[in-house]
């Protein structure tokens, strides 16, 4: 497969995720968290906080960040990096919305290291 014809997988409709919310996508390599920001931007991250593996999908979403439900680390949805004085990063995945459907980059998804 060349770069041009990337494989995208349809994982659901934009409206299946509440604004400022998240849903989980199960994959053979663990769970992903798919976030919907206030302006309908979509992000996909590993559902594992870099601190102690907290499920980021359960956190509070604000701006382009999410606050982890376990110990309140704030993680950037764009870069996956912990904000402020905390250090750590979680993997992010290519994702886009097309005609109200959410599509995720399949190559990246199944080429995960761990």
């Amino acid at each position: 497969m060349t770069l041009m014809e990337k494989a995208w997988i349809d994982i659901g409709a934009l409206d299946d995720i509440p604004r400022l919310g998240a849903r989980v996508v199960k994959t053979p390599l663990g769970c992903l968290a798919v976030f919907r920001a206030e302006n309908d931007e979509i992000f996909a991250l590993d559902d594992r906080c870099p601190h102690k593996n907290g499920p980021l999908s359960q956190g509070i979403v604000h701006g382009r960040t999410v606050t982890c439900p376990l110990h309140n680390w704030v993680i950037s949805l764009e870069s996956g990096k912990a904000q402020g004085s905390d250090e750590g990063q979680v993997r992010t995945f290519g994702i886009r919305v097309d005609s109200g459907r959410i599509l995720i980059d399949a190559d990246a998804l199944f080429a995960r290291p761990d």
Partner: protein, 822 residues
């Protein structure tokens, strides 16, 4: 492997050392502290304001229990160490705890000196060193009467002022001709004496105590009744406080064979004669010198922490210290040496009308001593000249008028501070210089006194430099510094919690977006701190109207279960008043089997916790619980949690009322309500208090004549006994008063502020007035609570078992099968 560090004594010196140590080497040691006093580290310097009633003990705590928990420190309170075994490297406490150490810190402080005169051990004779002494004095002061303070130094005068403030008739006996002769010259000593006498305190100087006389033993246990002086004078006394000096506590170290003289001998690296044992604080002796003020002790703490962290550089060098008397309304400052001698000159300024006296002692054009009375703002400037040995010849003529004059500027109140160099020490207790404060203001955009205290510790101990720190803030920020500025809710707004609550009502704001627009939020959609708070404020202000915003709730409240560390949830059904039945238990057992729930545990709130439930299973688990008649226990909520009860008149031979029935009635009436923070209640059937009602947010103690209603207790990070709200005669009144109380809290509490903190902020009396005494207000509050319950008492589990928020409990997509197909 972490090394083991054991600390003996939990006073201000080791407290600071541990703070430093955790700052520079947080993972180096497992720390265990033994403290003879049964409490955490507090600001001993501030005992006098506690005695006078200006502060409470909580105000002066330096490290609350949480501080130790967060650092994994084990603190044994009320454990006096009685033996150090250096061969085995262990210590043993009086109650028998043995701990082994790799490194040991001895910080046993000092003991007050007791005059060895006849009668010194009578009841009613105290010293002044710790909180227990303060409590004993306050107890004695309750019945009024006469107090005699022996010793007219810093401590004695603070004790005298405090006891006077508490309504006692006070006499100070001082051996020397003038007060505080070690810190003040004769002139200032006289001015001080006049000021002390002006407060109605009698001062007798050159008073040599001969004996303390006790009451006739035939009339009961003997108590002190008077003090007799050498010249035969008798001074009646119900309370005698000795404050004549301190002696380093060395006995423990000495017995262990560690070298001691007056204090425990340490080198400049704070090590004792045993290289694995450090000592610091008032118990040590360095170069023949012992110490009695915190500033040098804090320097020792820094040095010891560095050495423990492996940095062998820092050395402790004692430097000059300055003294202030912490008696409100008396301004006094002294530093250095001010004895008369041939090679010294002095500059004196007196202003009798304004009660001002200033004296500078000079030697070879250097300042070596300063005494100031009545007006002390320039103290820091002089002290800086003194410590740095600055050549003052060029400004000698105007030196005494202080920095504003020296700089020739106008009388601007901030001029004195502006003139200080960056190295000038502002906060003596914590050794913070001006540059550190201005630097922190710039670097971290600090705008309030609290900010500066949190960042630099300046003015966070005795508080006497607060004025200077405020002037620095003023100097740096100009009009932007507003001393009464409120703490904003979070970085998204400049408004504080109370302002937001008021504006929600005033501007009739009824949704989070409307509020953020109207109040000019600085972020597009808030943050994880403000959104849950706003959601609660709107919900409690507009019951029935406001549409709850799930995305602004913490996960536990969004899905009505408690998230666990592995992402599973725990489920706690309500058991009204802690009562359950065979039917409920059987249903729970079946559910545990059906969903393979790994743990079942009995909680502290008299109910059952099912732990490790998968999120997807939650609706089905709830549905089964509902079928057996159970509803959500709200164990996750900032709302009513449990009402713990005892068996009362149902079963107990001591029961005075139906405590179980009342507890169930309260719980059925109040469940579902949202509050600023969690609310736990208890009802005990008699004062034996088996339901532990007096450490709850709200507690009821049944008595023969009715019900005592208590509130504002705590038993978490903080532990606090409840306050008595008042007594009522009937169950109906109990219900009405508790509803009014909780409603007032719902309306005034700041989000996440527990009832005891709210009560402390607004005052117990004002609360009692609203919810107990003023019947009209009480009824109105009760009615508002009842109205809001109409919309709150809907079981969230039942709603979700029937399909509400289904998206919460299902994955968006399951790609595990997709791959299998490939």
């Amino acid at each position: 492997m972490k090394q083991k560090l054991v600390v003996i004594g939990n006073g201000m010196a080791p407290g600071r050392a541990l703070e430093k140590l955790f700052e520079i080497a947080p993972d180096a040691y497992d720390v265990t502290i033994f403290n003879a006093e049964p409490r955490v580290n507090y600001d001993r310097i501030m005992l006098s304001p506690v005695l006078s009633g200006e502060k409470t003990f909580e105000d002066i705590v330096i490290h609350g229990d949480g501080w130790y928990v967060e650092r994994g420190i084990t603190l044994y309170k009320g454990h006096k160490i009685v033996e150090i075994d250096r061969a085995a490297k262990t210590v043993r406490s009086e109650p028998g705890e043995v701990a082994s150490y790799d490194k040991l810190i001895i910080a046993t402080g000092s003991m007050p000196f007791v005059l060895p005169v006849p009668g010194h051990d009578l009841a009613g004779v105290l010293t002044y060193r710790d909180l227990d002494d303060v409590h004993a004095m306050l107890l004695a002061a309750r019945t009024g009467g006469r107090a005699v303070v022996i010793g007219g130094g810093l401590l004695g005068l603070e004790a005298a002022a405090g006891l006077k403030e508490q309504g006692m008739d006070v006499t100070v006996l001082h051996l020397m001709p003038t007060l505080m002769e070690r810190q003040l010259d004769v002139a200032a000593g006289h001015l001080l004496q006049k000021a002390v006498e002006a407060r109605g305190i009698r001062v007798i100087t050159k008073a040599n105590t001969k004996q303390l006389i006790g009451s006739d033993i035939r009339l009961g246990p003997s108590r002190v009744i008077s003090v007799e002086l050498e010249d035969g004078t008798q001074i009646p006394a119900d309370l005698v406080v000795m404050a004549i000096g301190i002696r380093p506590s060395v006995a423990l170290a000495k017995e262990a064979g560690i070298a001691c003289k007056r204090g425990i001998l340490v080198d400049a690296d704070m090590r004792t004669s045993d290289p694995d044992i450090f000592a610091l604080g008032e118990c040590v002796e360095v170069d023949g010198q012992v110490f009695g003020l915190v500033a040098p002790l804090y320097e020792m703490a820094g040095v010891a922490a560095s050495h423990l962290a492996g940095d062998a550089e820092p050395r402790f060098v004692p430097s000059a210290t300055a003294t202030k008397l912490k008696v409100t309304g008396i301004n006094l400052f002294s530093a250095g040496d001010f004895a008369d001698a041939k090679d010294r000159q002095e500059i004196v300024l007196r202003d009798a009308a304004r009660g001002i006296y200033k004296r500078l002692v000079l030697k070879d054009d250097r300042l070596i001593g300063v005494v100031m009375y009545g007006e002390t703002t320039d103290g820091a400037w002089f002290f800086d000249l003194l410590r740095k040995s600055t050549d003052i010849a060029p400004m000698r003529d105007t030196l005494i008028f202080g920095p504003s004059f020296a700089a020739g500027g106008p009388a601007d109140p901030t001029a004195a501070v502006a003139a200080l160099p960056d190295e000038a020490e502002i906060c003596g207790c914590n050794g913070v210089c001006k540059g550190k404060i201005t630097g922190a203001i710039d670097a971290f955009s600090l705008t309030s006194l609290d900010d500066v205290r949190a960042r630099t510790k300046a003015s966070a101990s005795c508080g006497s430099c607060t004025g200077l720190v405020e002037q620095i803030l003023k100097l740096k920020l100009g009009d932007r510094y507003n001393p009464t500025a409120v703490q904003p809710m979070c970085g998204c707004t400049h408004l504080g919690h109370d302002d937001v609550r008021r504006l929600i009502v005033a501007q009739e704001l009824k949704s989070i977006p409307a509020l953020m627009q109207a109040l000019e939020w600085k972020t597009s959609c808030g943050c994880a701190r403000c959104r849950p708070a706003l959601n609660y404020y709107l919900l409690s202000t507009w019951p029935g109207e406001y549409q709850d915003d799930g995305q602004s709730r913490f996960i536990n409240e969004r899905v009505h279960a408690n998230i666990q560390k592995d992402g599973t949830y725990s489920v706690v059904p309500r058991m009204w008043g802690g009562m359950t039945s065979a039917k409920e238990l059987r249903a729970i057992a079946d559910i545990v089997d059906k969903f393979a729930i790994p743990s079942v545990k009995v909680t502290g709130g008299q109910r059952i916790d099912l732990l490790g439930v998968r999120k997807e299973d939650l609706p089905a688990v709830w549905s089964d619980l509902n079928d057996a008649g159970m509803v959500s226990g709200a164990a996750y909520a900032k709302g009513l949690r449990t009402v713990k009860t005892c068996v009362g008149t149902d079963w107990c031979r001591f029961g005075t009322q139906d405590s179980t029935g009342l507890g169930i009635r309260i719980e059925r009436f109040m469940w579902g309500s949202w509050t600023p923070a969690k609310v736990k209640m208890g009802v005990s059937g008699c004062p034996r208090n088996c339901a532990e009602a007096t450490c709850k947010d709200v507690g009821v103690i049944c008595v023969e004549s009715g019900y005592d209603i208590h509130f504002a207790g705590a038993a978490g990070l903080d532990v606090k006994q409840t306050e008595l709200l008042g007594h009522v005669d009937t169950e109906d009144e109990v219900i009405e008063v508790i509803a009014a109380l909780v409603q007032l809290y719902r309306e005034q509490g700041r989000y996440l502020e527990r009832i005891y903190k709210w009560a402390k902020r607004v005052g117990i009396d004002s609360i009692r007035q609203h919810v107990l005494d003023d019947l009209e207000r009480r009824r109105a509050l009760h009615d508002r609570f009842v109205f809001s319950q109409k919309f709150a008492q809907i079981d969230p589990w039942a709603e979700r078992a029937q399909g509400k928020d289904a998206h919460e409990f299902r994955p968006l997509a399951d790609l595990t099968r997709a791959e299998a197909a490939e």
